[in-house]
Symmetry: C2
Subunit: 328 residues, 2 copies
């Protein structure tokens, strides 16, 4: 089996994804991109490492799709429409062409699904674990961008979809959810492996939401970022947090840390946003229009930090809030 | 010694480099960037891996600076002015705060030197070799962008600065150039470790050069990319290729593969461009104005590929043209 040649890989697998003319077929030093008048560029980057952010034996197609979708989720959280991505691929030295083809197939599927062009990239071989860094580029009409730092006192706190699927999905993907029904295991693992960036929702929240972000590191910790940057406090009513039937079953079966896993685990990629109570009916209509659950789960209050009230009205406490990379 | 906390690292070391207001202090999901009317965005990305692109015991400050400069060199090759960078850092799990501080110091120096803002990033710990991916963002006036694919028959081929310093610089940096004088070793190693992106030149070549790229993978191979994308051939006169005194000494001393190393080695980060003979005097004046050597080394001809004529007029042949990442 001949070793892959990076120029051949780029020409055969990646250049066809460079659908924007300004990508210059990936044959130049850089890509050219026009920003329509009245629009602002939105830029975000994320890195993932085998053994840290994904399992070395995960299907390469899903690795590419998750990387793409988590970045598009950041664009969604800003209210942006995606335009393109730049991708730095550090493939394992021993990676066969088949693995790389699988990765490119995932990229191709999601470029098509989300109307995104590959704009540039770099392909190298690493002696270490496979590592990928993706930069996503989007546009948003000036004035329509959603920020974290602009929540206001008295706003309601909302989330899209259901919370905790990502964290229990990791447990399911690891094969540690045998107590659940097979369809629930499949549902949760699917939510973990292939999140759905809430792009349509983000773009529709302009003029409605006061602040927004995506739930990637865990609901409680992420709401803490909105509270901190907005210099307010927030309270969540635990009972209001929307849970899928599968997560409810997982909690009943004693998986993970129960509700703590749902509220502090990561990888949901739902949108977390704030809006004044006057927007309730608009948001109810938007939920119907998008076919996406939107649920008020709490309130922005004076002070700092995030309090989670349990069913009995007493605050819950959590051992950790989100993943930390550097541990002794 | 406590392990570094990524939120603390971002706040303390990286957020101060986010000088663009749209970077939102690195506290949001993404950065916002305005593109002035009449300007196009220019985007490029590169990844580097310890043990492949740099040595694990290289000073972290220089690693950051080289990563920054090689990407800015790509912007220079498009005729663009730099605006900002997004940086994905996969630090080694055992990296101490001091190492990371050194890396951030290099980034800080070059952000300042080149007027660049950090726009976003991601900081993770990897069990493998340190790996970094940088996306550079610049702007160029529409119509002033330099491309590879637009060289024309009869154009002269030009290079800035001197060629081969990067390749012999790697030999020097490895301590394998003891036959040279210490100041030559220092010069070459410096050229390898801390290249100078030719940003001013790139921006001044608009309207003069017909095509351009930067010399990163080796002069002959890189000119091959201009020839291929422009569907022309090119001939270089080896004797005309500008060599520094240190490279001339290295060749005389029998280091590396002699002239082959100079012409096919990488890491020069000079600009390689084409221009019609009518531009000779303009380019001579520009060289004086910039205080930068600009040398015509060959011609664009019909056909395909790159021929290098030796001093006796006979074509030279080279065993390899540029580094390949995936080898059996």
């Amino acid at each position: 089996v001949p070793a892959p040649d990076e120029f051949d890989l780029i020409r055969r697998l990646f250049a066809p994804l460079a659908t924007e003319p300004g990508a210059l077929g990936l044959t130049d030093d850089a890509a050219l991109l026009d920003c329509p008048p009245g629009q602002r560029l939105v830029l975000t980057t994320d890195a993932i490492v085998a053994g840290v952010h994904f399992l070395a034996d995960d299907p390469p197609k899903l690795i590419a799709q998750k990387l793409m979708r988590t970045n598009l989720s950041d664009l969604a959280a800003m209210g942006a429409a995606p335009v393109g991505v730049l991708l730095a691929c550090c493939f394992e030295r021993g990676a066969g062409v088949e693995w790389i083809e699988g990765f490119a197939a995932g990229l191709a599927d999601d470029c098509k699904a989300f109307g995104v062009s590959l704009l540039g990239g770099d392909t190298v071989a690493t002696p270490g674990p496979a590592t990928f860094a993706l930069t996503a580029v989007g546009t948003v009409a000036a004035g329509c961008e959603l920020r974290r730092s602009t929540a206001r006192l008295g706003d309601r706190v909302w989330v899209s979809g259901t919370i905790g699927d990502g964290a229990f999905g990791l447990i399911a993907a690891r094969g540690e959810a045998d107590k659940l029904r097979a369809d629930q295991v499949r549902f949760l693992a699917g939510r973990y492996r292939l999140p759905e960036p809430r792009l349509a929702l983000g773009q529709r929240l302009a003029g409605i939401a006061t602040a927004a972000m995506d739930v990637s590191d865990g609901l409680v910790g992420d709401l803490g970022h909105i509270a901190e940057t907005s210099r307010v406090g927030a309270v969540i009513e635990a009972e209001r947090v929307p849970l899928s039937a599968a997560v409810q079953a997982a909690i009943s079966a004693g998986l993970g840390q129960g509700i703590t896993t749902a509220l502090t685990g990561g990888d949901d990629y739902e949108l977390l946003f704030t809006a004044p109570p006057a927007a309730d009916s608009q948001l109810a209509a938007l939920a119907v229009d998008l076919g996406l659950r939107l649920t008020p789960i709490g309130t922005i209050i004076e002070g700092s930090g995030v309090r989670v009230d349990g069913p009995d009205g007493k605050p819950l406490s959590f051992p950790t809030q989100g993943y930390r990379h550097f541990r002794p």
